[in-house]
C-alpha cells in the first residue's frame, strides 16, 4: 500500500468529492464524515510519503505504469514531500475546525461546499506531487475553479471579488500554459526531469528564455506577487470563513513551491541565477512587495483584510528569499512555505472563530475580545508573535535564514525590507491586541470589574486552533531537524 501513496493522495480526495456530491442528495450529514475520511487518508499518505522519501530518496511514481515521457509521472523528493505533508495537514485541521462555521454561513449549501473543499485539496496536492508540467496546469485549474466557486459562496461583494480573481487567475494559468507550450516546442517533452535533462544544450535559445519568463509571470499572478496582487485582498476577505482559511494559507504557498520547482528542477539554478541576470531586479521587486504589503496593511481597519495584505508581504519574503541565489535564502524560502502556511492558518482560524461568535471583524467590533474569547485571543497572540518573528515561534527562524541569505548575497535592501516588515507587524498586531485588551476602558485601577461572560467558540473550533498554535512553537523548536534532514537535501548541492 505504501507504494501507492502518491496516487492515493490525489485519487482518494478526487473520488470522495464526487461521492460527497452524491451523498449530499441523500443526506447532508454524511458529507462531513466522508470529507474527513478523505482528507485523513490524504494526510496519512502524505506523511507516509515524506517518511519514505527520507528513507529512500526521491520517489518516481508512474501513473498507470506508463513510462515518461509518454505517461505522467509523480515525482516526490524532499522538497515536495515536505510541502505535501504541510498542505494535507493544514487542510485536514481546517476542515475539522470549520465544521460549525460552514453550517452557520452556508446553510443548505454545505454539501457542494464540502465537495469543492475536497476537490480543491485534490488540486493542491496534485500540483505539489506531480512531475509533469502539463499535468500541473490541469491541477492548477482544478484548484482555481473550485477556489472560485467556494469563495463566491460568501455574502456581499463575494461574487464580484471572485470574478476579478477569476480574470487574474485565468491570465496567470494561461501564461503558465503558454510557457509550458514553449518548453514543449523546444524539448518535445512534458516531464519535468526530462526537460531538465534536455534543456542545458538549449540555454542560449530565446525560446527557453521566453518560456521561463512567461511561466514565472504566470506563477507570480497566481501567488499575488506585487504588483499583480490586486485580486487577493478582496477575494479572500469576502469569501466564507472556511474557504478563506483553506485558501489563504495554501494556494499562494503552493504557487511559491511551483516557482521554486521551476528554478531548482526544471530550469536548473545554473540557468536561473547565473545565465539570466534577473536575480537582483527580482529581489528589488520583492522588497517593494514587502514594503507595499506592510503599508497597505497599516491602512486597513478590518482584521481579515489586514491579514490578507500581510499575505502579500509574506509572498514577497519567499520570492525574494528564493531569488537571493544562495543556500540560506533558499532554505529560508522553503522553510517559510511551511511556517507561513501554519501562521496564516492560525490567524485565519482566529478570524473564523470571531466571525462565528460576533457579527464582524472590523476593528470596532473587536473591543474587549480578550475577556469574551480568551483562548482564541491567546492563539491570536501566538500567531502574531510568529508573524512578527519572535523566537521560539517558527516565524523567527525563517526570518533568520532569509536575513542571513540577504547578508551573504549582499542584498541589504532585502534585509531592511524584512526588518521594516517585522516592525510594521508589531504595530499591526499590537494595535489589534490593544483594542481587544483595553477597550472598553476601565477607570484607573479597574475597581469595578465588568465580568463579561465568556462567549468562546465551540470546542471543535478551539481544539484545532490550539493544535496549530502549539505547532507554531513546535515547528520553531524543531527547525534544526527540519532544515538538516529535509530542506538540506531539497536544495541541489550546487547552490552555496
Amino acid at each position: 500500500m505504501s507504494q501507492q501513496y502518491p496516487a492515493l493522495l490525489v485519487i482518494v480526495p478526487l473520488i470522495s468529492a464526487l461521492v460527497i456530491s452524491a451523498a449530499g442528495w441523500i443526506n447532508k450529514r454524511l458529507c462531513f464524515p466522508i470529507a474527513v475520511a478523505a482528507l485523513g487518508v490524504a494526510a496519512y499518505s502524505s506523511i507516509g510519503l515524506l517518511l519514505r522519501v527520507l528513507d529512500e530518496g526521491a520517489i518516481v511514481y508512474r501513473l498507470g505504469g506508463w513510462d515518461p515521457p509518454m505517461g505522467i509521472a509523480y515525482y516526490v523528493d524532499h522538497l515536495n514531500g515536505l510541502v505535501l505533508a504541510v498542505v494535507s495537514v493544514v487542510a485536514f485541521l481546517n476542515l475539522i475546525a470549520s465544521k460549525k462555521s460552514i453550517e452557520l454561513e452556508l446553510g443548505d449549501k454545505t454539501a457542494p461546499f464540502y465537495a469543492l473543499y475536497v476537490l480543491q485539496v485534490t488540486g493542491l496536492l496534485g500540483i505539489v506531487a506531480t512531475g509533469d508540467a502539463f499535468n500541473l496546469y490541469v491541477l492548477l485549474e482544478i484548484t482555481a475553479l473550485s477556489g472560485y466557486a467556494m469563495l463566491a459562496m460568501g455574502k456581499d461583494r463575494a461574487q464580484l471579488s471572485t470574478l476579478n480573481y477569476l480574470y487574474m487567475g485565468t491570465i496567470g494559468a494561461c501564461f503558465y500554459l503558454l510557457g509550458v507550450g514553449y518548453l514543449y516546442i523546444v524539448t518535445g517533452s512534458l516531464n519535468m526531469v526530462d526537460i531538465a535533462n534536455i534543456l542545458p544544450s538549449l540555454y542560449e535559445s530565446n525560446a527557453v528564455l521566453g518560456a521561463f519568463i512567461i511561466c514565472l509571470v504566470g506563477v507570480w499572478v497566481k501567488m499575488a506577487f506585487f504588483p499583480l496582487h490586486a485580486w487577493l485582498p478582496n477575494a479572500y476577505t469576502h469569501g466564507p470563513s472556511a474557504a478563506s482559511s483553506l485558501i489563504a494559507p495554501l494556494v499562494t504557498k503552493v504557487m511559491i513551491y511551483v516557482m521554486i520547482r521551476l528554478i531548482l528542477t526544471v530550469f536548473t539554478p545554473e540557468f536561473a541565477f547565473n545565465i539570466l541576470a534577473i536575480s537582483k531586479p527580482i529581489v528589488w521587486l520583492a522588497c517593494i512587495a514587502i514594503f507595499m504589503g506592510a503599508i497597505l496593511a497599516l491602512a486597513e481597519r478590518n482584521l481579515k483584510k489586514m491579514l490578507t495584505y500581510i499575505i502579500v508581504a509574506e509572498v514577497g519574503y519567499m520570492v525574494g528569499g528564493a531569488w537571493l541565489g544562495n543556500r540560506a535564502g533558499m532554505t529560508g524560502a522553503i522553510l517559510h512555505i511551511v511556517n507561513d502556511a501554519l501562521m496564516t492558518l492560525c490567524a485565519f482560524l482566529v478570524v473564523s472563530n470571531i466571525a462565528y461568535k460576533l457579527k464582524g471583524y472590523a476593528f470596532d467590533d473587536l473591543k474587549g475580545l480578550v475577556r469574551k474569547m480568551p483562548f482564541t485571543m491567546g492563539a491570536f497572540v501566538v500567531a502574531a508573535l510568529s508573524i512578527i518573528g519572535v523566537p521560539p515561534t517558527c516565524g523567527f527562524f525563517s526570518k533568520w535564514y532569509l536575513i542571513s541569505g540577504a547578508i551573504q548575497a549582499g542584498q541589504y535592501a532585502f534585509m531592511v525590507a524584512l526588518l521594516f516588515s517585522s516592525l510594521v507587524n508589531v504595530v499591526l498586531f499590537f494595535r489589534v491586541i490593544e483594542i481587544c485588551y483595553y477597550e472598553p476602558f476601565s477607570d484607573g485601577h479597574g475597581h469595578d470589574q465588568h465580568a463579561e461572560p465568556m462567549a468562546e467558540a465551540p470546542l471543535t473550533m478551539l481544539v484545532p486552533l490550539f493544535i496549530v498554535a502549539a505547532g507554531l512553537v513546535l515547528v520553531g523548536i524543531y527547525t534544526g531537524d527540519i532544515v538538516n534532514k529535509i530542506i538540506e537535501f531539497a536544495i541541489p548541492q550546487g547552490i552555496v
Binding site: 502539463f134 496546469y137 490541469v138 485549474e141 475553479l145 472560485y148 466557486a149 463566491a152 461583494r157 461574487q159 464580484l160 471572485t162 470574478l163 477569476l166 480574470y167 485565468t170 491570465i171 494561461c174 500554459l177 503558454l178 507550450g181 514543449y184 516546442i185
Partner: protein, 134 residues
C-alpha cells in the same frame, strides 16, 4: 524591411496568436461590461489553444489516424513513419485546455448572473458606485 516581412510571414502563427491574446487582454482590462470581459478572457484562452495546435502542424503531413490498426501484430508489422503525421500530442493537451476553458467560462458566467441579480447591472463602474454608496 524585407527581413521583417520575411519574419512575419514565416512565423505567422505566432503573430496571429499574439494578436488574439492582446485583443483578449485589451477586452478584459478596458471594457466595462462584465460579459465583454468574459468574452475577452475566452479569446485570450483560445489564442493559446490555437498556438499549441499550430505547433503540431507539419508541411505535407496528414492527420494522425492509422487506417489499418489491427492491434498487436508483432513489433515491426506496421511501422509508422512519424514524419508523415502531424503531432497529435498538442491536440490532446488542448482538448484538456478547451475543457478547462469551458469550465472557467461557465463559472464566470454563473458569477456574472449572480452579480447581475444583486446589483441589477453588468457595468463595472455602476457596480463600484453602488458599492461605494453602501
Amino acid at each position: 524591411m524585407g527581413d521583417l516581412i520575411q519574419i512575419v510571414v514565416a512565423k505567422y502563427n505566432y503573430w496571429i496568436y499574439i494578436t488574439l491574446m492582446m485583443i483578449g487582454l485589451y477586452a478584459m482590462i478596458v471594457k466595462n461590461n462584465l460579459v465583454k470581459k468574459i468574452v475577452g478572457m475566452n479569446i485570450f484562452q483560445t489564442a493559446i489553444i490555437l498556438f499549441y495546435v499550430s505547433t503540431g502542424a507539419k508541411r505535407g503531413a496528414t492527420i494522425p489516424i492509422l487506417e489499418h490498426g489491427h492491434g498487436d501484430h508483432g513489433a515491426g508489422a506496421h511501422m509508422v513513419h512519424a514524419v508523415d503525421y502531424i503531432n497529435p500530442l498538442p491536440h490532446v493537451l488542448m482538448l484538456t485546455a478547451i475543457v478547462v476553458s469551458v469550465a472557467t467560462l461557465g463559472v464566470a458566467l454563473a458569477l456574472a448572473i449572480r452579480v447581475y441579480s444583486r446589483y441589477n447591472t453588468l457595468e463595472e463602474d455602476e457596480i463600484l458606485a453602488q458599492i461605494r454608496e453602501k
